[in-house]
Subunit: 239 residues, 2 copies
């Protein structure tokens, strides 16, 4: 474990337990370096992590403020910037999948472009309904090059990302998401028990691994009543 991560966790705990109160100044960097017996750079790395999360904000000449915290009533809200699959977002909930379609074919033009592959390179096509506590939750249409890893229906019941990580050493490190509202078409409506034209929330995602290869292109549609997403934005970081 790294020293700056320890300090980060320590100060974070002190903020979250109101030992350092919102709106007040943190001790100066000099005092904190003495407290933790580290150099100023190491301390600043820890503070940068806290600033990334929006917990503090520093101002040259005046000091480092503890920011009031946003309400974390993230009960029903799903974080939009953590694309680790529905599985992780709903910890403590029962997750399952119905595989409606599973096959392989050649990619169309849009899929070739999004996955950076040739027309001759086959892809898996997967359609799944995801359920949370046995309630229909989202309808996913996924395209994945077959060269990434062999798939079968058993794997598709669980978390594909977990399987890719252990089997093919592929980690999702980057993703591009395009989000929009859309009226349900015939296929989506029947998969999610909605009326045709009912509003759905769509997330179109291209997932990239640690080497920058696109390994998945998917469109997920969510029922609008049950699904709101949250995104926290922090612009105060310079470096």
């Amino acid at each position: 474990m790294y020293r700056y991560r320890e300090i980060y966790s320590d100060i974070k705990r002190d903020i979250l337990t109101n030992h350092y109160r919102a709106g007040t100044l943190l001790p100066t960097q000099e005092i904190l370096t003495e407290k933790y017996a580290v150099s100023r750079l190491t301390l600043k790395k820890a503070l940068n992590l806290l600033a990334d999360e929006g917990l503090i904000s520093s101002k040259q000449g005046s000091g480092t403020y503890v920011r009031p915290r946003m309400d974390n009533q993230t009960g029903e809200l799903l974080p939009l910037d953590i694309p680790i699959g529905v599985t992780y977002s709903h910890r403590d909930q029962k997750i399952s999948s119905q595989v409606l379609y599973f096959n392989a074919r050649l990619p169309n033009a849009k899929e070739q472009q999004n996955l950076q592959i040739e027309a001759s390179q086959p892809v898996y096509e997967i359609k799944r309904v995801r359920l949370v506590n046995d309630q229909k939750y989202s309808y996913e249409h996924t395209i994945m090059p077959v060269t990434i890893a062999p798939l079968d229906e058993t794997i598709l019941q669980g978390s594909v990302y977990d399987y890719l990580g252990t089997y093919a050493k592929i980690q999702l490190t980057d993703a591009r998401r395009v989000v929009y509202a859309e009226g349900a078409d015939q296929e989506t409506a029947s998969a999610l028990d909605l009326a045709v034209g009912a509003p759905t929330f769509a997330i179109e995602q291209i997932a990239y691994d640690q080497k920058g290869r696109a390994f998945e292109y998917s469109v997920s549609r969510f029922t609008s009543e049950r699904s709101k997403f949250v995104l926290d934005i922090h612009l105060n970081r310079l470096y």
Copy 2:
């Protein structure tokens, strides 16, 4: 200007012009420190900025890779993580506003909670239709404490954020956005010339200034055909 920012810009240009080609290794950090005549820390700050943007990814022991770039066909797509108002997102486009409602009143319970204010502290209530190239684009319902800055209808024609920055020295540094799909209600439908029940994309936003004060709570609804949003996610950064 800071040295690490110069180096960041320099290397970024070299990547974007394919001087450093995607998939290849960058020169070692030692060589780059010699090239720019800086310490390794300064160079690493520059590299961290590039990693933040997903342009490179470093691996201990092997080197720093130039990542293949995602397509930047951001023509119609609006970035979801830059909440600087529609004004900036649509540069080169003609932006205007129709103020449908403007008044002051006491806040309800939800507004008090979101803006962290007392029930006795009055707020402005604003309803605007935003137009891009004279086409109706979004319908915004905004709540703002009157103590932040005095507003009038003239200001509301333009960019409120610009006004707050110059007049009240308030900068938007953090925001929480909740996004979801919703069928248009009567009011939204008539404001945007939609049918009741037509799918809309909603962004509910709480904006915070540099001191962590909430200064705006708003709900913006977008017509679904014209509005898709993009969000690039990078998980490869440790610190």
